[in-house]
Subunit: 161 residues, 2 copies
């Protein structure tokens, strides 16, 4: 890979890394409490296995993105491409699951008798929403990174053919 | 691509297609009703936007998988590879979101005051669980398909280099 192919990849990776880092921070700092019928209840991200999964994947992705910035591009772009596919898949998976549960927190589901909780714990909901927006940015940039890397590889095949 | 590269891709694609087809059928036929405090309530997949998203993606993936079986492999494997990345991403996304909501249906979330519903509507839950298992098989096989296609492309680069 030459410089014109490598620099956009670094830019995309840095933006994705910053997004997953921000998403992690926002989710880790999300807590709020509410009094319902005289009882205080705490809303925290680690009350939901799905939000915990999102945080774990965001942390791993941030560390992975940082590590790949120090890997020499010429030698190891093949394993990095395969690892990118795996990391992007987990990022999409954890983000989608968190959005699914976040949507329930915001709107509830009357058929299942699940009431929305955002009215009681608005601070928690704002943090989670902001974290999911950062997560969405990370998903988009990792997806673009993957398509760009794939395009480079396909061009290489076309060029060599 | 030669025959030894193409046949495993067709096999993986047919298994993935069968899985998304089964997942769609199981989700579409999932319904149950329960009487709670004298009121009858219906449990259907289309009461949840997340499960609806899963069904829509499964239908699109089934049709796409079927269509790709009729595309001549030699000419169009490049756009198919990019489309595979997109389809796999949506499949992972919808499956993960559905699992996130399914887990809530099974175990509830005491912190949010969401009770599990599987005790009341077991038939519905069995169908959704079976559909998600079929969805998981589809995710695994589409993921393998992607890694296999990518491996073929990378070998092509190595071979031509």
């Amino acid at each position: 890979m030459n410089k014109s192919q490598w620099i956009p990849i670094i830019v995309l990776r840095v933006i994705a890394m910053a997004s997953t880092f921000v998403a992690t921070l926002l989710m880790l700092t999300s807590h709020d409490s509410a009094k319902v019928l005289g009882m205080t209840f705490q809303a925290k991200y680690n009350n939901s296995p799905t939000l915990k999964y999102f945080v774990i994947v965001c942390i791993i992705t941030t560390v992975y993105s940082l590590a790949t910035l120090f890997i020499p591009p010429k030698k190891s772009w093949r394993p990095v491409l395969v690892l990118d596919v795996i990391v992007t898949s987990f990022l999409i998976s954890s983000f989608s699951a968190a959005v699914g549960v976040g949507q329930l927190g915001k709107q509830g589901n009357s058929h299942a008798g699940w009431l929305p909780i955002c009215g009681q714990v608005p601070k928690f909901c704002h943090h989670v929403s902001a974290s999911l927006i950062a997560g969405f940015v990370a998903v988009i940039f990792y997806f673009l990174l993957l398509l760009f890397s794939l395009n480079n590889v396909l061009n290489l095949v076309a060029f060599k053919a």
